[in-house]
Amino acid sequence: MSSSEIDILKRALAREKAARKQAEKILEQKSAELYSLTQELQSSNLKLETLIDEKTSELNGVFENIVDAYVVTDLLGNVLKMNDSAIDVLEADLKEEPINLMEIAHPDEYKKIIEKFKELIQNGAVTDLHIKIVTKSNTIKLTHINCSIIYDAAGNPKAAQGIVRDITESKKDQEKLIESENRLSTLILNLENAVLLEDEQRKIVLTNNRFCDFFEIPLSPEQMIGFDCSDAANNAKHLFTAPVAFITRVDEILDKKEMVVGDELLMVNGKILERDFIPIIENGIYQGHLWSYKDVTLNRSYRKSLESQKQKYSSIIANMNLGLVEVDHEDRILMVNNSFCKMSGYEEETLIGNKAANVFLVDENSKVFKTENNNRLKGQSSSYEIEVYNKNKEKRHWLISGAPNYDLKGNLIGSIGIHLDITGLKNLELQKELLLSQLERSNDELHEYAHIVSHDLKSPLRSIYALVNWIKEDNLDKYDAASLKNMSLIEETLEKMEQLIGDVLDYSSLNSTHKDYRRINCDELVKDLIKIIYVPEHISIDVKETLPKINGDSTKINQLFQNLLSNAIKFIDKEKGLIEVSYEDLDTHYLFKIKDNGMGIAPGFHDKIFKIFHALNKNKDSTGIGLSIVKKIVDLHDGKIWLESEVDQGTTFFFTIKK
């Protein structure tokens, strides 16, 4: 071996040594680097793990506290996990029992669920699924479900998760909303008013049947939507009686864009429309406007006829002769008419606002007035007379017809009185009463007077009679037959005088007082009478039928029959006298007949006979007053008396007596 070789070897060894040293040094360096790298990795791993932990718990929290129900199931629908909301919605708790979603689903939904489940597994998710469920409390709920599939690391489906919302209520609300929208649109469509809604471009948004009718548009409201109305006014102007004014007004309204209510439009076809304009402004921005038209033709004509009626009645009220006063609850005068002012003497201005009672009433009448006012408050009407003072403080009598006054709603607001001045009438009435009482008094006086006179006349007759009698008695043997005959004649004359005085007294005592009237049985009366009066043998009185009952003064009726029967008896000159009494029933009266077969009365005397002191035959028994009394009694009983007679054949007296 050579040195060189050695050297070479030596140098090769040295190089090798240096290379190793170098390699060791690099290795050392590398392992240090590796170490620090490992350290870094470790720390970042740690960080990651914490992060994952954080996220997982975060998600758990979200699921558990999520407002909507969250459910995790296996692929057969068995619930694996659920949150509190899910317990509420499904009304089932996994902690208490195992749950399978198919058991909760409404039987109607099975088919749909199976289809959707397939879809879910295929596509990995299903959204907006509406399923009806039946809960334990037997309520049917409509649920909205979004669900997805959970896959394992290998990408195989492992489970399903879903969010379930109870939309039963919101569904109902929605339906209601749609319903009310439908209703509204039907309403608008059939509204009495014509409606036209335009947007800010004057395009039609909405209109209705009425509008098409009014403006004679041969389209349906739906077809009108979107139409441009810029030229509409011009097209419609011919429908109105004042076309130019119509257009001017529409332009003016559209220009101002302010609300207009109650524009009146006269149409050529006679209709009267009332137009409203309502601009629609949202947040200060003009969005369009609404035209509304109302047919007020009928209203207007009603109003017109109402006004003419009112005119008519106002003029009646103003010009009628009756005073009219309207007062409120407190009796304050609200309205008076001209006649009332004239009646009372006051000016209208003086009366209005004053209490009627204070102005007019005489103190003693305020009670009457109060009662009447109370009646009014009770809603009663009535008429009454009252004494009042007019402006000149003269007493007047008014007849007041008062009625309660109501407002349109039927509330009592006071009363209306119609006043008639009856002072004239009242005075007449008072005068009449005065006259009547005077008449009664003078009748009374006359009656007394007649009695006194008759007494005063009769007394001397008695004295003369007694004196004549005494002279006759004392001189029976001294007087000759002629003187005694004359004495008898004096006595007869005295008797006749007595009779006359009696008859005059009877006649003057026949006063008309109905207070003594009562029911009289004429049959009994006449039969009793026949027993009492003197009926000669040769005369018979025949009462043909049962006489009726009448109303009257029995003394007078008695005298009536007595006078007529006596009269008949007196003038019978036949060998066999016959008197017949009969009657007839007339409507309001009874007609009595007393027929005799006496000497009869000549026609010229038929009327005269009833006049006082008209005795036809001046004999001892006749004073000529008997038939006058008869006539007076018949008159007093609202009857008539007349006779039929033939000389030598007999007489029939007819008289009627009111039933």
């Binding site: 008759s454 007394s459 007759l461």
Partner: protein, 138 residues
């Protein structure tokens, strides 16, 4: 019962009527006494003495001053005098007078007839009635 002699107060303003009464009474059996009064006042003053009250009063209604009915009222108000039977003697057949008299209280009402014979008849009967009657002695 034996008929008594009566003490009669006749209140009558007509002289001939008084004469008639006296003539009738003198013709009958009993010896009745007549005290005459021409009017109500006289009669009252006679009655006021009360030494001897009449058994019967015959009263005409139509008299001057106090009339018959007024007199009757005064009489019937007196505690003692009211017991004297009073018979009205009048020509008046006025129903009102009759009722007024009965209301106040009378023992009879005689209408004077026209004929003197009738008068004698009536008064005779009246006297025989009252003389037989057991009178209250006032």
């Amino acid at each position: 019962m034996k008929a008594r002699n009566l003490n009669i107060l006749l209140i009558e303003d007509d002289a001939i009527e008084v004469m008639k009464m006296q003539r009738v009474l003198s013709g009958i059996e009993q010896d009745h006494t007549i005290i005459e009064a021409n009017n109500g006042e006289d009669a009252l003053s006679i009655l006021k003495k009360k030494d001897r009250l009449p058994d019967l009063i015959l009263l005409d209604l139509n008299m001057p001053k106090i009339n018959g009915i007024e007199f009757l009222s005064i009489l019937k108000k007196d505690e003692r005098l009211k017991f004297i039977p009073t018979v009205i003697l009048t020509t008046s057949n006025n129903q009102r007078d009759l009722l007024a008299c009965y209301y106040i209280g009378i023992a009879g009402y005689v209408l004077k007839p026209l004929k003197y014979e009738d008068y004698v008849e009536k008064i005779t009967r009246l006297m025989s009635y009252w003389s037989m009657n057991e009178l209250f002695i006032a």
